[in-house]
Point group: D3
Chain length 161, copies 6
């Protein structure tokens, strides 16, 4: 029974995230999509909204569980008895950041492995912040997010403008 | 039943390779360590020698199978019905190369995923060529390879000087 | 009739920017230097000041037009019927950022191309923020900006300290 | 009248090259696709074959001229009175190499500019060598090259195996 | 008599910093560890606390002098008649940043050289911010800082939570 | 008495090398410029020619000693009782390579430090191979090498064409 964790801010979930989740879910028995509650940052979406949107995008994947966590990822991984943390990499900047985090996490929990997959080329330019920026400026972001959540997302973002 | 492949030249196997194998073997049910037979390159070790050395280093890992393959990795992966190719990354140069290969392999076999893990920091400077270079120049390479194969390796390299 | 756009914050214009403008202006019929008005950021200079300074630096280039824009660059490009966005690259960090932006802009406006030129080596360390930082700390920034605007700039920055 | 040069080995031309040519041809009046004859390297295709294949792929672009050149690119550019050299960039490795070449070329011919465009994400994994490697190993490379030259190319490569 | 400067925020000093100081101190006659007082940033520790902690970690190195400075590093270097600025590099991101700073500093003070050493691999994931983040979330950071200051540090951080 | 080593192939010495030597010589008491004799590579210049050219370029620097060495750099450093190896870095590719070498050298000789300085921006595009390539193709390389050795170099290269 292999357990993997895909942690993130998901502010909001994009097609880039969704692609990593779908690919990761095939490689393990249970994949926890873990929304980080960071009380010092000011996300655009509430944790409840984030979880609701992720659940809507991943409802067809039976081995995906959506949760939130706070504190150290290494501790959350211990609690879930996880084998690996999953991360998507879009470019060398991402690689350097994730490399560093994986080294820190292993120091904090020597049982946890971090595995990387590369973003699909055509999705590599998508990030939560680019979704929000383009939405705020009235651009078309329908190609960046799941079509089931597009309207809800549009609504959320407009309300926060 | 998840099947992963760890392909390479292993000319010869180093502690860096061994570390990736040990970590990968924990994340899947069967890990094929697949030695590429490339008839146009001129390796220092024969395929038989390479396999013998890898077997000696991995004999304590029951779910590791050592094999050789020729032709396209994507075809070998299909034949093994593999879920993923495993690769270790030491630096951004490695990352760029592996990123590219993973994109090519997915184009050739859309079922195959490539997963990456980062080299352990203290092993990141080890490569098969640095082992051979240092051995050839009479330097100490005992910290770069498995102690069980160190003497055999020394012998092989001396014979080929 | 080829139309290019060189967008930026220009807070303030540096010799690095000026060099890119001069080189870009030779490669197209009209080059719009487009100052982004971003109401959520807090620039050091007002849009009017920025435009005034750029005009002073580019007055000898007849095919350079200085304007401001707000909203999406892709929309501004459509409005100008532009063929290309021009960007200067100083290092691999810049490259990664610009690569990503060019992919986003093409998704938002499939007619727009992004072309890059490399910063001149001796200008590559200049940025608007380094100009302001050095000026604020009383260092010599005369080698970083156009001599015609140096005093005006010094004055502006001192007033804002 | 702007004249650009797109130099390369084109051993053979790929869909990646073709994409850069098509995008470059829209940004200038005449685009020279310039095949480098390098007598010290041993290309898979002859210069005549390379030119024939490029012509077949670019026949629908009226402002594209296919030629070969030897010697320094900076001299060839002078001879053509070219405004710019065009290069495609696939990743940061490419960027570093091209950055360096552009600096050298400007030193050799101060009138020549080098402009870069980024490879389309889904074409970024294609190179002449990966085409040849995959072809040699019997893999499907039809997605990597122009369909009009695919059979000719297959034939050429088989003959050279 | 060679004089080097190791500047930084040291908010707080980590084992990574300490390692660079120890290595740098062997390469020059006097090494100034220079704490930047930046009044626009809001550090976690006061300058006095930072200096106290650094002194405690470096008391066994007779040629290390701990000081604070404000203003331009290039001016401070002039004042100390320093030969070189010392910087540690952990990854390519650090390299790019430091490369740029060294170019700026040479422009501001042509007598000052910047020399780099690479972080020890096992310390490369340590930064002042990761120390504070992990401490704040209750994780074990004893492996990231000097054991003599660990308790004091823990105390400081807890008080600031 | 600090002793540093600047190792390389110097095939031939360029203004880039010369700049690093001049800067390094100011930071130590004795700088050994150490020409690697690598019997498996086929350099353009003989070791004697290389040494002669370097001596001509560095004769005005009294604390520079030109020598050749073979075998491991770590062993040569031990023999000279050197404190540091000096290396110049031109770009992130160089940085990654040198980072790796410094880690290997420390493993082979724990007393040896590697220090880096960044290439001067306007010299960063110069390498021994670009000198030879441009010279071979009849381009002007007078800006790439010391004017005292330019004619000698031209002569050597022509003879080897």
């Amino acid at each position: 029974m292999s357990v993997w964790i895909y942690p993130g801010s998901f502010d909001p979930i994009t097609l880039g995230h969704e692609n990593i989740i779908a690919r990761g879910a095939k490689l393990c028995d249970t994949l926890y999509v873990a929304v980080l509650e960071n009380h010092s940052k000011h996300p655009t979406f509430t944790t409840d909204e984030k979880i609701e949107l992720i659940k809507e995008c991943t409802s067809h994947m039976p081995n995906v569980v959506v949760e939130c966590f706070s504190g150290l990822l290494a501790d959350y991984a211990k609690q879930k008895d996880a084998d690996a943390i999953l991360r998507g990499i879009r470019n060398t900047g991402d690689y350097e950041y994730e490399h560093n985090m994986s080294q820190l996490n292993k120091k904090l929990n020597s049982n946890i492995e971090t595995v990387f997959v590369c973003a699909e080329p055509e999705l590599a330019c998508i990030s939560s912040s680019s979704v929000k920026e383009i939405a705020k400026l009235g651009g078309d972001f329908s190609w960046m997010v799941n079509k089931n959540i597009y309207n809800k997302l549009k609504d959320y973002i407009n309300r926060r403008k």
